[in-house]
Each structure stands twice: as structure tokens, then as C-alpha cells.
């Protein structure tokens, strides 16, 4: 029995790096410090695994599957590479290269989680911080449209609510916690104050707060929030020693999308005339930040990148997977570490069933169920080493704690094989 310490959790954007994984033989026996989801990921990582590659439902060798994948991609006029967020950075880099050599599009799951956050950053910027600054300094913590107990279970404990920090030695007592949302959630129960905002009313509320921070007195209720509550929150924000807004998909997926973030960024920026204020998106997949980061350094753009013209072009809404599928554009797709058939609106998802779809995954998903080519791969962060970027943009080394189940290859290795074959096929053509 071996205990591996300092293991980084490959589930959510928190990238907790204090896991202690107990391994016996090639079996994981325990996951200390892990949250419920993380434990499930480690403990069940061997369950429901895809055993062998398949082409049109028939079991084939890895080479045959790779060949089928390469043929479909090499002959496609509008291939799309999608997913990327639940694997390590080297695999992500291969995805970008695959899109480049096939003259296709590469998009990652950011487009349906914090893509709008990136659009806002491109419009107005962002005042952000690494999570440790929150732990060490923040005396005002605002969760806006985010609910860590559902998606980032240890966030409260490690970073934002209870930890004792350099200048917040009292921990929870040293912080005032506000939750703004359209409904009460477990986060509201933790918070000192819950502000219920009307559906689709975040934008107006954030805008009014910014006006209040600038000195305007709000006299009417906005988005269901009483005027005095808005004025009081603005005052509290200005008087904080250091404040932070952790925002989630409650802002990015509701009416207003990127503009909700744009105005939140503006509010936070404005507050820097008075005190220190920052905001941080609650990124979901453990390496969605890495998908954006790698794609950006290689192409200049974080997602929705089109290589049809040989050079990268960028336009969310045009080159994003949901839109392209809804319009029926792609004539081949390769899905890496993602399940768009389940996570996209059905109208988009169904196009995947019409075209050659290649999926690299560990387990059966709706996407593998409708794919022509399915290639089982090893789990990054459990069976494969690599890099992942935390929600605040800092990277950690993922560990390999056990050998890949059934000797399967990693995303990176399979992608390398596909790239090599695509290159050869393109040369021949």
C-alpha cells in the first residue's frame, strides 16, 4: 500500500493540491482530503470504462480506430475539434495542432461556461487575483450567481470563506460574505447576507451598484432589490479592505451573458479607486482555464478558433461548437475529454450523430454512444501526468497515481497518432 501525497485533484477549477491517494496494486483505495465529487472521480475511475476502441460500434484495434479517425478528419472540409477542458495541457496543445493541420476549428468547453467572461475581458479587462490573496486579505467576499457547494466543494474552506490568512487571522469571522442569486442555495446559508435578484436582472443591479460607487444615490428598487440595500452594499464594498466577487454561470448563462460580466468588471474596476477589489470566475472543469491558456499562447485566441484559411481566426458565435453544430456546418468532429451530446442543447447535439464523430473518453457517454469512432483513453491526473490551470490561471502538475486502466494510451498519445496519420494522408492528397 502506498500513500501518494500532494496530489492535485482533476475535477474542478479549484485544483486542490493536498489530496492523499492510497494505492494498492493498481487500485485506488482511498482519497483523503478529497471532496465528494473528487472522491467519486478517484474511487470510481475504473468503473464503466470503455474497454476497446470501436468503429461504428465494432471493436477494432487502436491503429484501426486511429486510421478511421484520421481519414474522416483529413478528408473533412470543416472539421471541428471540441472539448479539451478535462485533460492536461499537452493534449490540449495536440488538439490545437490537429485543428491547424486539418484546417478546422478548435473550440473548448469555455464556450458554454466562461466564454462570456472572456468576451467581457476582451471588451473591458478584468481585475483579478490568485486565490491566496483572497485567503490572506479579503474581508468582503461576494458570491454572485455561483454556488460552490454544488460545483467547487472545497472552495469555501481552502480559499474564500473560512481559511485563516496573513491579514485575516480570524478566518470566517474576519470576512463578511454576501451571496447574490436568483434563488437560495447552500451558499446563501453560509453567507452573512443573501440578496435575491430577479431573473435576468443582474445586469441592471450591477450597473446601479457601479453608479452608487461613483456617488449616485439609488432611489428606486432595482431588479427586485431595495434601493437602500443597493446603497448599503455599495458603501460596504468601498469600505472593505479588500473585496472579491466570485461569479459563476448564473451570470454567464443568463440573459445578458458577457455583458453581465462586462458590467461586473466595470464595477470592480471602479472600486479600485477606493480600495482593493478583484473578481474571479468560478471555472468549472479542472483545466478549462488551461484549454484557454494553451490555445491562447499558440493561436492568440482562447476558444472558437478557425484555421480554415491556414491562420487562426476567432469569432465566438460563429466558430463556437454550439453554433456550428446548430447550423450543421461540421462534416467531421473529434471530441476530446468532453460530452457535448449531453451538455449542448439537443438541437446542436443531434448534428454530431449525422457526421463522422470521433470521441476520446474514458467512459460511455451520450457522445460516445453516437460516435463513429470511440477511442478509450487514460485519465489525466490519475493515470497520466500533465499540467492543469486553476481557475485563477496558475498551473500545477497533475500526478499519475496508477497505471492506465487496461493499458490504454493517454489523450496526448492517441492525438499524436492521429496527427501523424492526418499529416501523412494530407501529404498524399
Amino acid at each position: 500500500m502506498a500513500v501518494i501525497t500532494d496530489v492535485v485533484c482533476p475535477f474542478c477549477g479549484c485544483l486542490c493540491d493536498d489530496l492523499e491517494i492510497t494505492v494498492e496494486g493498481n487500485e485506488i483505495k482511498g482519497a483523503k482530503n478529497a471532496c465528494a465529487i473528487s472522491r467519486s472521480k478517484f474511487m470510481s475511475h475504473g468503473e464503466n470504462r470503455i474497454r476497446t476502441p470501436t468503429v461504428k460500434g465494432k471493436e477494432v484495434s487502436l491503429e484501426k480506430a486511429v486510421e478511421a479517425a484520421a481519414k474522416a478528419l483529413a478528408s473533412a472540409k470543416r472539421p471541428i475539434v471540441y472539448g479539451l477542458s478535462s485533460t492536461e495541457c499537452d493534449a490540449i496543445a495536440r488538439c490545437v495542432e490537429l485543428a491547424e493541420i486539418t484546417g478546422g476549428v478548435v473550440d473548448n468547453t469555455a464556450s458554454v461556461c466562461h466564454g462570456p467572461t472572456i468576451l467581457a475581458l476582451q471588451q473591458v479587462g478584468e481585475s483579478k487575483t490568485s486565490l491566496g490573496e483572497v485567503k490572506n486579505r479579503a474581508d468582503l467576499v461576494i458570491f454572485w450567481g455561483s454556488n460552490p457547494p454544488a460545483a467547487h466543494i472545497r472552495h469555501f474552506v481552502r480559499y474564500s470563506v473560512t481559511p485563516r490568512g496573513l491579514y485575516v487571522p480570524e478566518g470566517r469571522k474576519g470576512r463578511y460574505v454576501v451571496h447574490v442569486d436568483v434563488r437560495e442555495t447552500p451558499t446563501s446559508r453560509v453567507a452573512d447576507q443573501f440578496i435575491k435578484v430577479d431573473h435576468g436582472g443582474d445586469f441592471e443591479l450591477l450597473l446601479a451598484l457601479r453608479a452608487a460607487v461613483r456617488g449616485a444615490k439609488i432611489t428606486e428598487d432595482i431588479s427586485g432589490v431595495p434601493a437602500e440595500e443597493i446603497n448599503a452594499l455599495a458603501k460596504r464594498m468601498k469600505e472593505a479592505k479588500m473585496g472579491i466577487v466570485f461569479f459563476g454561470l448564473g451570470l454567464t448563462q443568463s440573459d445578458g451573458r458577457h455583458m453581465n460580466i462586462d458590467v461586473a468588471v466595470g464595477l470592480v474596476a471602479e472600486l479600485n479607486h477606493h480600495t482593493k477589489f478583484v473578481l474571479t470566475p468560478m471555472r468549472g472543469h479542472y483545466n478549462v482555464a488551461g484549454a484557454n491558456t494553451v490555445t491562447t499562447w499558440q493561436t492568440g485566441y482562447p476558444y472558437a478558433v478557425d484555421f480554415a484559411r491556414g491562420y487562426p481566426r476567432y469569432n465566438p458565435g460563429e466558430y463556437t461548437a454550439v453554433d456550428m453544430l446548430a447550423k450543421g456546418e461540421p462534416d467531421a468532429a473529434i471530441i476530446v475529454a468532453s460530452d457535448p451530446a449531453a451538455t449542448f442543447p439537443a438541437n446542436s447535439a443531434k448534428h454530431l450523430a449525422r457526421i463522422p464523430t470521433i470521441t476520446l473518453d474514458q467512459k460511455v457517454t451520450p457522445t460516445t454512444m453516437l460516435s463513429d469512432v470511440v477511442i478509450p483513453v487514460a485519465t489525466a491526473g490519475i493515470e497520466v501526468e500533465g499540467t492543469a490551470y486553476r481557475m485563477d490561471g496558475f498551473s500545477l502538475r497533475l500526478s499519475k497515481v496508477v497505471e492506465p486502466h487496461g493499458g490504454v494510451k493517454s489523450d496526448r498519445e492517441v492525438l499524436d497518432m492521429i496527427i501523424e496519420r492526418v499529416k501523412a494522408l494530407k501529404e498524399d492528397a
Binding site: 473533412a76 445578458g256 469569432n315
Partner: protein, 279 residues
């Protein structure tokens, strides 16, 4: 003006990218050269002649060139993008980015346009008789400047974020317009004769920019301050210009109208105006 006629043959199912369809790129060329202009389908390159019958005459210079597309091009992107002179008439619909970054001349679309029509337009006239999609005349992602000149006239309805980051120029919409019209605008004039959805003018800075609403509004942002109801002389100038120079009949009806004036967006210390016609 010399007229060149393009008739779509069987267009591909994938979008066709044809930024070569402008008076600029055909003027001074032979028909053979025009037919050989590159167009793109996914990752493949084709010739314009593969998808269009090309007939008529080319002019020496773009300003003497009329290009007429006779047929639906709803899935053809970048028609008229970057054009600087001449006239381009599409008898039908156009795909994304029609007239994007155009600098001059006239682009007329008798049908509807998709997203990003007239995006980052610098000059000229873009007339869309049907509807326009999202991001009409907007800035591309990240760009601090949307329209910096020119006029866009839309006969029908318009989607989200029309005129986002507008700096100069005019946007005239006959139909209804969806949210975030003129968001981040900092100059430029917007006239809407249909109904305006909420959140228009959000984070607008001012610099003389205004949004004039003639057909009602869903709601006005709380960060716009109501000042007065008045009949400003300057509006008469614009409305006469719209009526007389652009043939916007609707404008003529409001020459004597009173407007409610709002100023904002105070959330960004802005001085832009919203003018809502009094019924």
C-alpha cells in the same frame, strides 16, 4: 456605371466566404479574371466562377462599378466587406459580415442580413431592406471601436448588440431592435422607429452619441437620468437629413415631435443621450 451581374449557381451547403464580391476587387479586371477570384468553402479554395455566373461589364475604377447579385446568398459571408466605392446590390439575403469594415460606396441588400453586418464600418451606406442579425455595425470582439462612420439603414428588425462600441456614423432601424443597442457607444447616432428592447445605451460614454427612439422602449436603464421633455432643434436637422438625403419617410413624421431626454450612463460617468419621442 458599368454593371456586373453575378447569378448564384448551386451554392455549397457550407458557408461560402466571398470577400472578393466588392466593386473594388472586380473593377479593372476582365470577366475571366473576375471568375478566377478566390472564394473559400471550409478549408478549400475555389473560384468565384464555380459558384456564380458572371456576366456584364467591369469598370476601370471601383467608383464606376455596379455589381448586382441576382439571387439568394444567405449563406455567403463577407459580401461587400471592406468595399471603398461603387455600388453593390444583392437581390436577396446575405450571410454574416456583409459590408463589414466597408469604407465607402453603397451596399444594398433587398433581403435580410445575418450577424455582424456592417461591423466596424468606416464609411459608405449599407441598406438592408429586410432584417439584420446580431452585432449589426458592432465592434468585433475586443475592438474598442465599432462603427466609425457611414450609415446603416435597416428596413426590418435587428438583433442583439447593434451599434456596440459605436464611435461615429448613423444607424437607422425601422423595425424592432433587441437588447444592448448601442452598448459602450461613444459617439454616433441611432434612430429606431420600431420598439427598443431593454438595456440600450448601457455603459455609453457620450461624446455626442445618442439613441433616438420613435417607436417606444421596453425600459430605460436605471443609470440614465431623466432631464426634460423638449423639442430640440438639432433633431430637426437630423430628421430632415434622414428624410431628404436617405429617403427615410418615417423621419418626416417626427419633425415637430417632443422628446423625453435621458442622460447617462451615469455608471460610467457617461453623457450619452436617450431621446424618446412623446406620443
Amino acid at each position: 456605371m458599368k454593371e456586373l451581374v453575378l447569378k448564384p449557381k448551386k451554392l455549397p451547403e457550407l458557408p461560402l466566404e466571398a470577400e472578393v464580391i466588392t466593386p473594388d476587387s472586380v473593377a479593372g479586371k476582365t470577366l475571366k479574371e473576375v471568375k478566377a477570384l478566390p472564394v473559400y468553402v471550409g478549408n478549400t479554395v475555389h473560384e468565384l466562377g464555380d459558384y456564380f455566373d458572371v456576366k456584364g461589364e467591369t469598370a476601370e475604377t471601383p467608383s464606376d462599378q455596379l455589381v448586382a447579385i441576382q439571387g439568394e446568398c444567405g449563406n455567403v459571408k463577407y459580401i461587400g466587406a471592406g468595399m471603398t466605392a461603387g455600388r453593390l446590390i444583392v437581390e436577396g439575403c446575405v450571410g454574416m459580415h456583409a459590408g463589414a469594415e466597408m469604407e465607402g460606396g453603397e451596399l444594398i441588400v433587398t433581403g435580410s442580413a445575418s450577424n455582424w453586418a456592417g461591423a466596424e464600418m468606416k464609411g459608405g451606406l449599407l441598406r438592408i431592406h429586410g432584417d439584420a442579425g446580431h452585432q449589426l455595425g458592432a465592434a468585433y470582439r475586443g475592438s474598442p471601436e465599432g462603427m466609425t462612420g457611414g450609415v446603416i439603414v435597416v428596413g426590418g428588425d435587428v438583433g442583439l448588440e447593434a451599434g456596440a462600441f459605436m464611435r461615429r456614423g448613423m444607424l437607422i432601424i425601422h423595425g424592432n431592435v433587441d437588447s444592448f443597442l448601442g452598448v459602450h457607444m461613444n459617439g454616433g447616432e441611432v434612430f429606431v422607429f420600431g420598439k427598443v428592447a431593454r438595456r440600450f445605451g448601457a455603459e455609453a460614454k457620450g461624446n455626442g452619441g445618442f439613441i433616438a427612439c420613435f417607436g417606444g422602449v421596453e425600459s430605460i436603464l436605471p443609470t440614465y437620468v431623466y432631464d426634460t421633455t423638449f423639442r430640440p432643434d438639432f433633431m430637426k436637422l437630423y430628421l430632415r437629413q434622414l428624410r431628404d438625403q436617405l429617403g427615410i419617410e418615417a423621419a418626416g413624421k417626427f419633425l415637430e415631435a417632443s422628446f423625453k431626454r435621458y442622460r447617462g450612463d451615469i455608471a460610467v460617468g457617461g453623457t450619452a443621450e436617450i431621446l424618446v419621442v412623446e406620443p
